[in-house]
């Protein structure tokens, strides 16, 4: 109730500034907001604005109302998992079993050179069988990662008819895929196709031997989470975080459609891979988690308008399967902006949160690009790119006195210097990739900064 009052107060404030909210979520599981980096734009010039479509999942009221889970644990048992890694992986998996409800459907697939479905998709029940099997996983052989994911997906598919359940493959691997398709592109395509089926793949990269490009891409394309676990002792925490997310899913098959009126030209998505066709942009998410915000950032080119004018900048419509109430639902929201010749009005209308989110995503993208440049042995170019982006952000932060953005931009300089000097170590590269993916995906669970 407090939230709603707070929202109402803030809305009133926004309304006073001139922006009129056309619609807002009432009794919905998902709350939709359309935010702009500045509520007032300078008049009489072509401006670039950032529109943020934010989706807030309400917290699940009760644990027992959560939708059933259809999950495949896909665990690497290649020779490299020997020792502490497999021990911790077993422990983490065993802890995970404790958290499932008897009605959840869980399958267990392990892979080395060959792929074995140790437990085909079945209800957890008392979990005894799962525990038994998990305790007996022993490492050996190569890494047929593609086959493992494929088999996990096949197990999920057995119960795909139940559209209320949360479909998820959790892949734990520490090595390079060396049996079957193994390029990030191929696994990325697999992720895309699984996403269409409503299956997300969460990837947990363990140690320093895995291919982070492949793991992050597979997760990103299928709207799953991705984790980089350098020390196997962190596995339990990561599993817990991931299961926390899975059990907290409140909406599935989320389709975000954003229509832009004439004069507002959508340029691109920042961070996420959406599609833009003419005046319409579209983005799909496989799920939303309770108590978490997911958003899409779109750069929009706004054509010149007179001072004092008021125009709608975007209208969003989100349709999803409400996993809590077991029904299809749609929410819509729109946003208007004003134009002013007064620079102060423009500056004071800035939404610092949107700017910060935008900045974080810009930097995440810059890091991804920097990795590519470092891979091509162009460290100086990578550093220059990071500095350039940071510089742009810093300037904007100064104009709008945005402290968060300033801090973010300031953090880029030492990173750039280090890249220029030493390049990226294996661990750093993995961290960059994973953090970038987590930022772009607004993954709140499991990142090193939020233990």
């Amino acid at each position: 109730m407090k939230i709603r009052i707070a929202c109402f107060v803030s809305l009133t404030a926004v309304a006073l500034l001139g922006a009129v909210p056309l619609a807002f979520a009432g009794n919905d599981t998902v709350q939709l907001r359309v935010d702009v980096d500045r509520a007032v734009l300078p008049a009489d010039s072509t401006e670039k604005a950032v529109v943020k479509i934010a989706l807030d999942g309400v917290r699940l009221p009760r644990r027992e109302t959560r939708p059933p889970i259809n999950l495949a644990l896909v665990i690497d048992r290649s020779g490299s998992m020997t020792g502490d890694k497999i021990v911790k992986a077993r422990e983490a998996a065993l802890e995970a079993v404790e958290r499932f409800a008897p009605d959840d459907i869980v399958s267990l697939v392990v892979f080395d050179n060959r792929i074995d479905t140790l437990v085909p998709a079945q209800r957890v029940g008392d979990g005894r069988r799962l525990r038994e099997v998990i305790c007996n996983i022993e490492p050996r052989g190569g890494t047929a990662l593609h086959g493992g994911v494929t088999r996990g997906a096949a197990e999920i598919r057995k119960n795909l008819e139940d559209r209320s359940s949360i479909n998820r493959v959790i892949l734990l691997s520490d090595g390079l895929a060396n049996v079957g398709p193994s390029s990030p592109e191929e696994l990325g395509r697999l992720g895309t196709s699984l996403m269409k089926e409503g299956i997300s793949v969460t990837t947990i990269g363990l140690g320093l031997g895995f291919n982070e490009d492949l793991m992050t891409r597979l997760a990103q394309r299928s709207d799953g989470n991705t984790y980089f676990v350098e020390h196997s002792s962190d596995l339990s925490r990561i599993f817990a975080a991931e299961l926390g997310d899975v059990m907290n899913v409140i909406a599935r098959r989320v389709v975000i459609e954003i229509d832009f009126p004439r004069g507002m030209r959508p340029l691109c998505f920042v961070g996420r891979d959406g599609t833009i066709r003419g005046q319409r942009a579209e983005l799909r998410l496989n799920q939303l988690y309770g108590g978490q915000e997911k958003f899409a950032l779109i750069e929009v080119e706004v054509s010149p308008a007179e001072a004092g004018a008021e125009r709608e900048i975007a209208r969003a419509r989100v349709s999803y399967d409400d996993a809590v109430n077991q029904r299809a639902a749609t929410v819509t929201a729109a946003r208007t902006i004003q134009f002013s010749a007064n620079r102060k009005t423009v500056v004071s209308s800035a939404d610092h949160k949107v700017q910060a989110d935008y900045a974080a995503n810009v930097m995440a993208l810059a890091k991804d690009e920097a990795i590519v440049l470092v891979d091509a042995d162009r460290r100086d170019a990578a550093a220059a790119l990071l500095r350039e982006r940071a510089d742009e952000l810093r300037k904007s932060a100064e104009v709008y006195s945005n402290l968060t953005v300033k801090e973010l931009a300031a953090g880029a300089a030492p990173a750039a210097a280090k890249i220029e000097r030493d390049g990226l170590s294996n661990a750093e590269r993995k961290l960059y990739r994973t953090e970038s993916a987590q930022t772009r995906n607004q993954q709140s669970s499991g990142s090193p900064s939020t233990p």
Partner: protein, 622 residues
Amino acid sequence: MSPVSRRIFLYWVLLFVPTLAAGGGAILLLRREQARVAEQGAYADEARRAAIAARARLSVESVELLVGDVQTGLLDTLAEPRARDVEQFMEQWERSNPLVRMAFRVTAGGEFLRPDPAAANEEARGFLRRFSRPFQENPPWAIPPAPAIGTMPGEQIKRERDADEMRQDVTSNVAQVQSARRDVQQLFKAQELAVRGRTSEGSYAEDRRVPAASSAPANASAVDVGRAKERPMARNEAKSGAAYPELNDAAGRRGWWPTSVDGRLHLIAWVELPGGGEVRGVEVETAALLSRLESALPAAPGSGEGFVLRDGSGRIVHQRGAVPRNAEPVVRVPLAAALLPGWEVLGYFTAAPAGSAAGAGVFWLGALLAGVFVAAILAGGSLLLWQARRSEEEAAQKTSFVANVSHEFKTPLTTIRLYSELLEQGRVRDGEQGRAYLRTIGRETQRLARLVNNALDFSRLEQGRKKYAREEIDLGAEIGRLLDTHAPRVTEAGLRLERNLPATPVSVMADRDALEQIVLNLIDNACKYAADGGQVAVTVAKPRDGQSGGEVRVSDRGPGVPAEQRGRVFEKFHRVDDALTAEKTGAGLGLSIARQLARGLGGELRYVAREGGGAEFVLELP
């Protein structure tokens, strides 16, 4: 060969031949058993290989069926007449069908109607980059229609017939393939419903997959199955190299075009609308298709079996079971080039290394046992026979010994009896002659005593009861005394006794009686066999190597001992001439006893051939 030897040889042969025969028979049987085991193993291997080949063929069939289902589903959906909302439909299709990567519309001239080259996102740009040129220059729908249905190449017909036969044998992965096919078919059914349902506001109920019981999907299903059955008949091979199947029906020409761009496989399904103005098609999401092909491989390969699905560039897409590295596959079954060109399913077989080696092991173990058995029988038999032969020889020697001893005793006894009778009858008047007779009697008595002594000693030595009273003796003095006593006898035998005694004393540890008996036996021996030589020499000396002790050499100029007999002259009962009719009498004990006594004293008695002819016996004493 003596009858005894012959008998023994016969026994030996009787033992040897059956034993060898039994051994040979055992080996023969073992060899046959081994061959049988190996043959069985080979049959089993052959059967396994055949099963693997059958499974691989079935896998290929399954892959083809699965891809065929996808193909049919895509083409059927594409071919549905849809004029008004085609854009919306395609967009929705792309979004929701995991098998659809990009739906496109092209004019017959290769101009893209969709995706719009102007307002394209990254995915669409990639598509245009890949296909705009081939679609303009060499579009698959421009290739003239392939030969009519039913003209499959003979090879292919045969392969399919084989595969059909195999299918009846192996059904292990039928369930999972059916499940995968159902899944794929469901995708299209659900798809169509979803698209129809979502015309205005997408609703949860409409979007839900409708069970197959309702009328629309039932129809769709019937169509699907009909197509699936019809499909294999429609495979064609175009001559131009770009192979693709083509189906013609009321809805227009349709085709399936596998092509490789940047080394990756891309699959295009297309339908030419009736009238030929527009081609609608779809690029298949190969990743989604490939991920479903895993179920086509055998579900649970047996131990040692492995299956691999390989793509056109030889990369492994899926593998199941044990796939050894760098091994040659048992079978290599290509997929229909029209569906996935260059793809193949390989079947591997890793024979358990135990098979033939175990057979050979059993054989060698068996052969070894048989060999040991035969050898044991032969060795045991031979030992028994040898023992029997030895006993027989000894018995013969003892018989000869008794005869000889009796003869030896008889000679002096006859002499003594003769002379004593003469003396008793008083026929000898001459006193000198009477004394001579008495001397002869005495001498013969001494000879008898020596004989008896020898016989007694022999018996003691044999039983190991001989006692020696060892003391320090001056060998030269002792031998001198001994020769003094016996010189007349030597002279009487017609021999000249030559003494070579040292001036200084030669001290040895010996038993006087034993020493005397040895030397007397040697001298007797010389008297008996070397009387023709004219002399016998007795030499006493210190050992040449300067050690303590001494040696006595008794040498003659007699005939010596033949080379082949030299090793045996010291054997008991042995005589160089063993016949009862022998010229020289004797029991064959003298030398044997002498050597045993010498050894008993810690010395040795040796024979050496004397230079210049004759025999020389060397007694070494400590």
